[in-house]
Symmetry: C2
Subunit: 218 residues, 2 copies
């Protein structure tokens, strides 16, 4: 019974039938040759690669095949991308988009935002993720707020549901340095530029360009 | 033999094997109960819904199953989304992204850009298209350059490979009116805001927000 739900109720979630029938969706009861620990959802959990974590339900007791998504609170009310003018407190169940497969995203992992680093050679590192049956096709990095871009080196794709790691070697002069990264997917789609354009009342699914600012000492 | 290719060669194109095996991809030799006209690619053509038109090859003579995309000019050189700093004249075959499935897009069909329209009620109409196995989940319309948004009414989905038509009724006062539209897909992905961010040397795949400006007379 979850007290986060209104009214309190057990956790429930839905995925579309074609996804449920896909070969990548698992019921998992063992991990690394051992029974699945309770912490990870044992005795049995769902694993739904490419979808938000909330769909990979732990501690499964029941699976229902039905014509429409569940009316459970966590499906119909939580984890929904509402229009900017909606009020999450009063939005009707089913309002907005159900978060499901993950939107194209990337981030800068090295250097840290706010880091102080030496001038000279710098290897910028990060990940990108395309979700769904799409792949990461290219990652661009800019040192001048998006005026010019260089293509990062993509590391091998470790599987359709894994992060795609990338890196780029640059020379950085002393001063403040703003680094921007963005990914393109295999359909030619690009991450959105601005978080402001994506604003929604619950703050979900911000997949805008990654930005860090570092101080380069001379 | 196409003189557009370098060197001149017959047209050729590739699609990934899973797409080729999908139930929506057709070899078409009849249309409306008649043999397929030559104008439409007869005697036999490919129809690849959700992909750019260049993959729906007309006047098919040969189909090859192979381990890698074709090295035909129209697959390896044409129809590729190049990085902003690439030169299409010198880019190596295989450079950039092969355009395949269509990125999320929308447009405003009524009113026309530059139209003069009367003040009062106005029905704004357009289409949206998500490509691939995604759906159009929402279309937003702004009359104030994206500061506030209203949700358009979506007409029924006529099929996974069809435009999704939408409309919104508004009241418009006299003066210049700028209308912006943008679509979200069923994964919560949003069209990019700015065409500038999508710039590429061949001008492909601009799926930025739709914008028209009209003059409303009082």
């Amino acid at each position: 019974m979850s007290e986060l739900a209104s009214p309190p109720q057990p956790y429930g979630s839905s995925i579309p039938l074609p996804k449920a029938l896909s070969c990548e969706v698992l019921l998992a009861w063992r991990m690394n040759g051992e029974p699945l620990p309770e912490l990870h959802g044992g005795p049995v959990r769902v694993v739904v690669p490419g979808f938000i974590g909330a769909r990979s339900v732990k501690w499964i007791t029941t699976i229902t095949v039905q014509i429409a998504p569940s009316d459970n609170y966590f499906q119909s009310t939580a984890y929904r991308l509402l229009p900017a003018d909606a009020d999450p407190e009063t939005a009707a169940p089913g309002a907005g988009l159900s978060l499901s497969s993950i939107a194209l995203n990337s981030d800068i992992l090295v250097p840290d935002d706010g880091a102080v680093i030496p001038a000279g050679p710098l290897t910028i590192r990060g990940y990108a993720f395309a979700g769904d049956d799409r792949g990461v096709a290219r990652v661009d990095v800019s040192l001048d707020d998006g005026v010019t871009w260089r293509q990062a080196c993509l590391q091998p794709q470790r599987g359709p549901w894994a992060w795609r790691l990338w890196s780029l070697g640059v020379e950085v002069p002393p001063g403040e340095l703003r680094i921007t990264a963005r990914a393109w997917d295999s359909t030619g789609a690009l991450q959105p530029e601005s978080a402001a354009a994506l604003w929604n009342p619950k703050g979900y699914a911000n997949n805008s360009w990654a930005r860090v600012t570092v101080n380069v000492c001379g």
